[in-house]
């Protein structure tokens, strides 16, 4: 999280030596050169890493939407004759102990991990952001109460907290996702509150109140949009961690029940065969790692971009 906050620290605004740009005569319609501008940023940077990251996400999303297009095998029922086959021409990533195609299971598992992560991030984003917004803008007693709730949430280890929530709610993919979401509420609330406080102090928010704006309309029109950039970057990062967290719960048996091809469950099931059939645990593991790295890369660029826009 500290890495994120450094990445989003706004750079110095692009102004010249004593702080102001020369004014062109009002008749000339061309804007002054715009060093922090969006057009230039877009033209100047084509980053291969970022393109790759988006590509990874696109493929995984496609797996989730239409898994049938990527594999002809059935992810749930296998052929007992073909059990524990190593990676090869027919079964690209090999088969598991029940003769199910591993590649098919990974492809069909995408929807579980992705939806779970999406749900988890949505819960964290909305609840956390709402808490942060209210705490940061109302201040006083409300801020103190929200602050203490966040402190309590942060003081409980994430995994323990989600396990407790699952035990309260019951097992299952959706409940695991909600549990993971709740653990990220605190981090979202903290980040959002600090951003809201920063924007709340700015001249343009005061000017909005000064021109007759009511509390909620100023909040929605100015404070929320201007505080959202870093939070969105954090959302992309959380998406990666949510996939890991959900896989962890699946691995421990708190997520989707077998034979659902959920990634964490795949890794768990392969454990017993790791000495003889390494591929059953390795490939789902690699897929999780790649998608998490891609999410981090996207988050990083989103953070930089929002940092630039705030000051431009």
């Amino acid at each position: 999280m500290s890495a994120i906050t450094t990445a989003i620290t706004p750079s110095a605004p692009p102004v010249t030596d004593s702080g102001v740009l020369l004014e062109p005569s009002p008749s000339s319609a061309t804007p002054p050169t715009d060093p922090g501008g969006r057009t230039r940023r877009r033209l100047a940077r084509v980053q291969p890493g970022l393109v790759l990251a988006w590509l990874v996400v696109a493929v995984v999303v496609a797996w989730a939407i239409a898994p049938g297009l990527f594999t002809g095998f059935n992810p749930v029922s296998g052929t007992p004759r073909e059990r524990l086959l190593p990676p090869g021409g027919e079964h690209w990533l090999g088969t598991d102990e029940l003769g199910r195609d591993l590649y098919a299971r990974i492809v069909y598992g995408a929807v579980h991990s992705l939806l779970g992560a999406f749900l988890a991030v949505t819960v964290g984003f909305f609840v956390g952001n709402l808490l942060g917004l209210v705490a940061g803008s109302v201040g006083g007693f409300v801020d103190a109460v929200v602050g203490r709730i966040v402190d309590v949430l942060l003081s409980i280890p994430g995994l323990l907290l989600s396990l407790s929530i699952i035990i309260l709610l019951g097992f299952g993919t959706v409940n695991a996702a909600i549990a993971v979401g709740v653990t990220s509420v605190a981090a979202f609330a903290r980040l959002s509150r600090s951003e809201v406080l920063r924007v709340r102090r700015s001249d343009y928010v005061e000017a909005a109140f000064g021109s007759g704006g009511r509390f909620w309309s100023v909040l929605v029109r100015h404070v929320l949009p201007n505080s959202l950039g870093p939070v969105l970057a954090f959302t992309a990062l959380q998406f990666g961690s949510a996939i890991i967290a959900i896989s962890t719960l699946g691995f421990l048996g708190y997520g989707a029940p077998p034979p659902t091809p959920e990634w964490g469950l795949l890794i768990a099931e392969g454990r017993n065969y790791i000495a003889t059939s390494w591929w059953i645990t390795t490939f789902p593991g690699i897929v999780v790692i790649i998608i998490v790295l891609a999410a981090n890369r996207i988050s990083q660029s989103a953070g930089r971009r929002s940092g630039g826009r705030k000051t431009s």
């Binding site: 030596d17 102001v20 004014e23 008749s27 005061e206 909005a208 021109s211 201007n226 431009s312």
Partner: protein, 548 residues
């Protein structure tokens, strides 16, 4: 022989989209002991030129061509290591910002001693003795104490003196002062400039002063270089350039500098419209009046509250401009913020059109915004970077539910036209506009709901002098056309003299003198006012330029 000879110097910055040349073919020289000033607006390349002289360009900066001869050596191509032997020793630099130029975790003494230690001037005791001597030399009282203090314990002016002490520590032949006094209050600025002058006399150093303030340059320098867009457009003896500028740009610049023009005051305001005499008599001429305003801010940890504004009273006639002048910390901005009720007065009353607004709250306070509006100092911070200009200008109308969508759009277009911006501006965002254009947008926003009173809090202070002149002219036109009343907050006396009808001088939270601008400027009664007026740069220009 000249001390410094710069020939055809060109400097460029590399950016992501290519190289951007900011200094073109600049040539000038400085004689030993001479006081040379470089003036120009932001972006004119004056600071870049000064930094290039001692190889202190930003990392992406590069000297493309030209020579910089210091004595006999061309230092343009020197390595960092060789340059270090002349920095401080032969050329001293006084940086722009006294707040960020000192290390906050080291004492003044150890920072100043560092210069001496780096250049190996004596042992520990000698360095300490010399440090104290230098602090005394730049006019700091109690130098032993100062040496053991940290930068935050010193005022801005004191910090600037420390920086000057650092620059003269090794008695260099040339001192480069980059906007060294721009961040200071005018009385402090004068003392610092006096100090530089006397040090120059004493050590025979040459001074290169980089400044945007033409008045300072005209008053202090012997020779003047005028820069525009990276080129020297005019150079010559200061007195000659000021009296008889050759280039069009220098003429404009001199014409726009408020303190260099002839001493003129505003003509008395003509009645806005002819009305029934009985109506006029029954109505108070004062639109805005404040009586015994007090504002206390709570002190920290049991300390006594800090009284920022202390028993302030003034009144502003309809359609006129009342200025409040003072230095930083005088309470002028707090007063302005109380008038628009962004701060709540601790006691006292504020009347707008005869109605006391000091204790309004809730919906009544919101309705007050239709009658009085504030324009902020910094147009880079007062506009929401995510909104379009149309949204910004329409926002007050939306807040008060005025007009339909089309009517609001039409009103925004009308306002943008009023502040002399092209209508294409409406679809832009603030980042695409310059500082002056942004300030015009801020004024348009303030006018949207048709208030009769505007409070301008240092509204032109962040702008270059030509842009400043344009905004002041705009404000004047708006006042005549719309019958506006202004409360004009400023630290700049020459601007105040130009634009206001009446003036109050504030010092340490109190108004020390009030009157018409002519009274206060020509026959100041209070000691502080006299001091303030004497410190305005450029007041002695036509006489002193040549003799210095």
């Amino acid at each position: 022989m000249s001390l410094l000879n710069v020939n055809n110097l060109s400097v460029s910055y590399r950016t992501r989209v290519g190289t951007n040349r900011v200094v073109h073919d600049v040539s000038f020289s400085i004689e030993p002991g001479e006081f040379v000033a470089v003036v120009g607006e932001s972006g004119s390349g004056k600071s870049t030129t000064a930094h290039a002289l001692i190889g202190l360009l930003a990392e992406n900066g590069r000297v493309d061509a030209g020579s910089i001869r210091l004595g006999n050596a061309d230092i343009a191509g020197w390595s960092e290591k060789r340059l270090r032997t002349i920095r401080g020793a032969r050329v001293g630099l006084v940086p722009q910002d006294p707040t960020s130029s000192l290390d906050p975790v080291k004492t003044i003494g150890s920072q100043l001693g560092e210069v001496l230690r780096i250049h190996k001037r004596g042992d520990r005791a000698a360095v300490r003795a010399r440090t104290i001597e230098l602090l005394a030399r730049v006019g700091l009282s109690n130098p032993e104490l100062r040496a053991s203090q940290y930068p935050h314990e010193l005022s801005g002016g004191m910090r600037q003196r420390v920086l000057i002490a650092g620059a003269i520590a090794l008695e260099p032949e040339l001192i480069i002062a980059d906007e060294a006094t721009s961040a200071l209050d005018v009385t402090v600025q004068r003392r610092i400039l006096d100090l530089i002058d006397s040090l120059r006399d004493e050590f025979g150093m040459a001074v290169l002063l980089v400044t945007h303030d033409l008045a300072v340059a005209a008053e202090r320098s012997q020779r003047l270089l005028v820069m525009q867009s990276g080129r020297i457009v005019e150079q010559g003896l200061t007195a000659e350039v000021v009296a008889n500028p050759q280039s069009a740009y220098a003429t404009t610049l001199l014409g726009n500098a408020p303190s260099l023009g002839p001493v003129t005051f505003r003509p008395a305001p003509s009645p806005l419209f002819v009305r029934d005499a009985a109506v006029a008599a029954s109505e108070s001429p004062y639109v805005l009046s404040a009586t015994s305003l007090v504002k206390d801010f709570p002190g920290g940890r049991g300390a006594a509250p800090f009284r920022a504004v202390d028993d302030v009273s003034f009144a502003v006639r309809r359609g006129t401009t009342h200025a409040i002048v003072g230095e930083s910390g005088s309470g002028k901005t707090t007063t302005a913020r109380m008038v628009v009720r962004l701060e709540r007065p601790t006691s006292g009353s504020i009347a707008i059109d005869g109605e006391d607004i000091a204790s309004l709250k809730g919906e009544e306070l919101r309705q007050l915004r239709r009658r009085v509006q504030l324009v902020y100092q910094n147009p880079f911070a007062s506009l929401d970077p995510r909104q379009s200009i149309a949204d910004i200008v329409e926002e007050p109308l939306r807040n008060f539910g005025l007009g339909s969508r089309q009517e609001r759009a039409a009103r925004a277009a009308e306002l943008i036209d009023r502040v002399a911006l092209p209508s294409s501006t409406l679809s832009r965002t603030p980042s695409e506009l310059s500082g002056g254009q942004r300030q015009r947008v801020a004024i348009a926003r303030a006018l949207a709901v048709g208030p009769k009173t505007l409070v301008l809090d240092e509204a032109v202070s962040a702008l270059d002098v030509t842009v400043q002149a344009q905004i002041l002219a705009l404000l004047d036109t708006l006042q005549r056309d719309l019958g506006l009343t202004y409360l004009f907050i400023s630290h700049d006396l020459s601007v105040v003299r130009q634009v206001s009808d009446t003036v109050s001088v504030m010092s340490a939270g109190r108004i020390v003198e009030t009157g018409t601008v002519e009274q206060v400027f020509l026959t100041p009664q209070h000691e502080y006012t006299r001091e303030l007026l004497a410190a305005v740069p450029g007041t002695a220009v036509p006489l002193t330029g040549a003799q210095r």
